[in-house]
Amino acid sequence: MLSRIIVYLAYFLKSSKRYKNSKLFFWNLLENQDSKLKSYFDFLMISLIFLSIYFLFYDTGQQFSVMGGYVEICIISIFIIEYLLRLWIYSNTHEIIIKDYEKALYLNIKFNLTKTLIKSILNKAEYIFTPYAIIDLLAILPSYRPLRILRIFLIFRIFKLFRYSNSIRLYSDILVTKRFELLTLLIFTGFFLLIASVSVYIFEFPENDSDIHNLFEAFYWAIVTAAAVGYGDITPHTLGGRIVAMILIFVSVGIVAFFTSILISAFNEKMPELRENKITSDLERYRNFIIICGFGRVGQEIASHLAKDKQKFIIIDKNEHNISLARKLKYLAIQNDATRNDVLLSAGINQGASTILCITGDDVVNVYITLTSRHLSKDIHIISRVNRHENLSKMYQAGANNVILPFEVAGLLAAEFLGQPVAFEAILGVLQNRSDIGMETILVTEKSPLDTQKIEQLDLLQRKLTLLGVISANALHLKHKNKYRVKQQHFYFNPEQHFILRQGDMLVILGRKYSIDHFRNEIEKQRLRAKT
């Protein structure tokens, strides 16, 4: 009967959405490295730990304070709740039960509840014995009055900080990656210290004025000497003891150097990863940034423009030389292969990146990056570079929104310069926003005063604006002549005076920037006035 109820409960939990959601929420809060919640929670816990440590020392220094007591209770309860929550989200007990139950059902044997329960309890115990869990527990236990002796373990509250700070965690990670080297060194050092302390004990102990009274003191002296600390509280007086000291000092110099070099090399190996972590965490704060794949000549040119616009962007390039150049210019840069999914994902293709530029010098690579990006993100805007004309259609097939051919553009410009050098230079200046003459679009929005107006009513001549045309997808305009296809829309060049504007149309206007702004402001004002 009891087993039936428990199995029923397990199934109920499995099907309950609310249970799942709450578990997910706490997982995000406590364990998920990428979640925002965790960073807030970590910060809160770090402050709580400091607060509790402060009251702890305040307590030991002065009389028992009431305030401190309440704070302690509060903090301890938070710690306990946290501990239990972590225990809860560590594994899914109901899944273990269901699995066992279904297995029993399948094999047609009797479902053994006790066995399953033991299994799930063992599973939870697995968590209890992880280092972090032990630290957590030790930080809580000493507050329980009968266990006041364990007060020294309150120091574990400080160790609890490990949990919430990535930099400390990283340090321990490094130690873990180098555990083989460190262990070898530790064993060697241990042996050596043992030999040194035993020999110094043998030489010194029989002397009358000896500082060394037992083996422990000899060991203590050996460590103090080996670490080049040398307090001088214990000194060897015999010739033998001094020779041991000299050998110990020479060897320990080697050991310290070896130890330092292991740590440094481990940090060096970890450095690129660290930097990347920093970049990705920086990126998470941005919205609408641009990913630039390839930092060659074209990439450098774009990056300099984007930096001027204060637009955020990230560079991915395989070439070390290019990356060091980018870092010198203080751009965010990842040295990695942009054709790999995980690289693009960590660059944030699904998190806030609005555009990706595939502009390496190699068409094959560009097509591949384009394909990968389109596969990873349906909505991202992709601009790609192609060097050979025959690859143009492949690039569109791969999913690029815009494709640019550097050599064709250069050839085209050369041709235009031949034909009308001055005019072309001027127009180019306008297009690239170099002069105070601008070419801009004005959108006819909903309820805009421009809606259903005729071109002649706009009074553009008076405003010293030149209307080049209207971009529109509206089928109503199709009867007008002089239309040119531009992507999914039409551009109506030089529209007649009786051309009627519709909502969604875009006027392409050439004129002084401030007169365009003035025009736009006036329209906006009229629109707002009409609303009220």
């Binding site: 000549r297 050369a414 034909g419 009308q420 005019a423 297009l431 040119y484």
Partner: protein, 234 residues
């Protein structure tokens, strides 16, 4: 008819050749590498093998004589610099346009006497930036003026004794008479800069002024013809 000499056959010059208006320009293509000549012939472009290092050869094809414009499209910057220097020595008024590979070459080419430098990478970078910042306008121009659509920019000089003389720019009303848009005016007496109609106070046209117009090629041709015709009146 302007005479244009293009040196170096490659992707850039191929694109330039296919875009240049053949009616107004007489194009000749030269290269010193036989394999480039063959490629050009494969694409129906009549290229001639020529050693650009010899002044004699340059003179023999008309540099310093009737060639107006020189386009240096060699892949190698040093070759472009050499060609520019030789050509500038032969002809002070020649218009020289050079394509460069590395950005350092730009100063050297200008010092050697080139009038205009085209850096494909810089232009490409600029262009992508435009696509990001002003997608509407960039798309529009890519598809029309820079693209294969029939919408072009043209410069039309006001001849002596033309009916255009003395007329105010606002009186032209090109948009209703010709389906053309007057973008700007180059006043040769003042400077070589173009002034946009939009920024200028209305002014009278003189002979020698150049009108910069935008429109379909048929309308441009019609307008050019009418400008030359003394008796035409708008």
């Amino acid at each position: 008819m302007k005479k244009v000499a293009i040196f170096g056959y490659n992707r850039v010059s191929f694109e330039a050749i296919s875009r240049i208006d053949r009616e107004a320009h007489d194009i000749k293509v030269f290269d010193h590498k036989p394999e480039h000549i063959e490629q050009a012939l494969d694409n129906d472009i009549n290229a001639t093998l020529l050693d650009f290092k010899s002044d004699e050869c340059l003179r023999s094809i008309g540099i310093g004589d009737d060639i107006n414009t020189l386009l240096c499209c060699f892949d190698n910057d040093s070759e472009n610099v050499f060609l520019t220097m030789s050509a500038r020595a032969l002809d002070k008024d020649l218009q020289i346009i050079a394509i460069i590979e590395s950005p350092d070459a730009s100063e050297k080419l200008l010092a050697a006497g080139a009038n205009k430098i085209i850096d494909p990478y810089q232009i490409c970078g600029h262009k992508i930036h435009d696509m990001l910042k002003r997608p509407d306008i960039t798309d529009l121009f890519d598809q029309t003026v820079f693209g294969r659509n029939d919408l072009h920019l043209a410069e039309v000089e006001v001849p002596e004794n033309s009916f255009l003389q003395g007329i105010f720019a606002s009186q032209l009303e090109l948009n209703s008479h010709y389906n053309l848009i007057l973008v700007g005016i180059i006043n040769k007496q003042l400077s070589d800069q173009m002034h946009f109609v939009a920024e200028e106070v209305d002014r009278q046209l003189n002979s020698g002024d150049i009108l910069v117009i935008l429109g379909p090629s048929r309308e441009i041709r019609a307008f050019k013809k009418d400008v030359k015709d003394e008796y035409c009146k708008i």
